[in-house]
Amino acid sequence: METLLSLKWQIFALAEFITIVFIVRKNNSMRKKSLVTMDLNEYKRTDVNMNDLMKDLHLSKSLYKVLTRKYHPDKFIGTMNVIKAQEIFKEIQENKTNYRKLSELEEKAESELNLK
């Protein structure tokens, strides 16, 4: 009977020990996580829109060419819209491969520069 009781206590002690070890190790591993890992794990969860990427790959080049020709700041020399045109042109150049952004800029340019 005594041996059975002691065995029971030994099992309890072992289970308690394992739980403590698990908690301590978990805390340590959380502490060890560097900023790099946290940053990169965030990027693992973000979804990249592949349909937009396909548009970037196939349509952005032609749209960029059209926009650079249509809204070149030289076309607005001597008008009130020169500065606006320069700003929009700069944005167009910065988003050369971003189709969605280029489409937005086209709308913006049409409304602000009064060109159709």
């Binding site: 978990k26 794990n41 990027y43 693992k44 990249v48 491969t97």
Partner: protein, 131 residues
């Protein structure tokens, strides 16, 4: 033991995330080709990658993200560069590729012998942290 268990769970999570990314890319490329948006059909796959381009998060023997263009004719160097540059200018995608263990971007055609490789690490824009 617990660390190893979490390592195994992470490995499977990464594996499914990598698979989803290539699958989504291929589905979108197929849709774009069928709808007429894209003149060439693109297909992504996993390759060994370039050993010189490895970084700390690289996956063993599968660090290459390969984009194959089914163009039917050899692509010029400029055309390959334009495909690669669009991918590399998408910061979010590059960072995702790096975080999922890819280190090399490969673009090549199906007809010729042309192909180019880029080191993703150089285009991630998080060099400050990785350095």
């Amino acid at each position: 033991m617990w660390n190893r268990l979490s390592f195994i769970v992470d490995w499977f999570n990464d594996f499914s995330a990598r698979r989803n990314l290539t699958r989504n890319f291929n589905l979108s490329a197929r849709e774009a080709f069928v709808s007429g948006v894209a003149p060439t059909l693109l297909e992504s796959s996993v390759s060994i990658g370039e050993s010189a381009y490895r970084h700390v998060f690289s996956k063993f023997m599968s660090g290459g993200f390969r984009i194959k263009a089914l163009s039917g004719r050899p692509l010029t160097r400029q055309e390959i560069i334009s495909i690669g540059s669009v991918v590399l200018e998408n910061q979010q995608l590059v960072r995702k590729l790096i975080s999922l263990g890819w280190d090399t971007l490969e673009v090549h055609d199906n007809a010729g012998y042309n192909g180019l490789k880029w080191k993703l690490y150089d285009h991630s824009g998080i060099g400050g942290i990785l350095n």
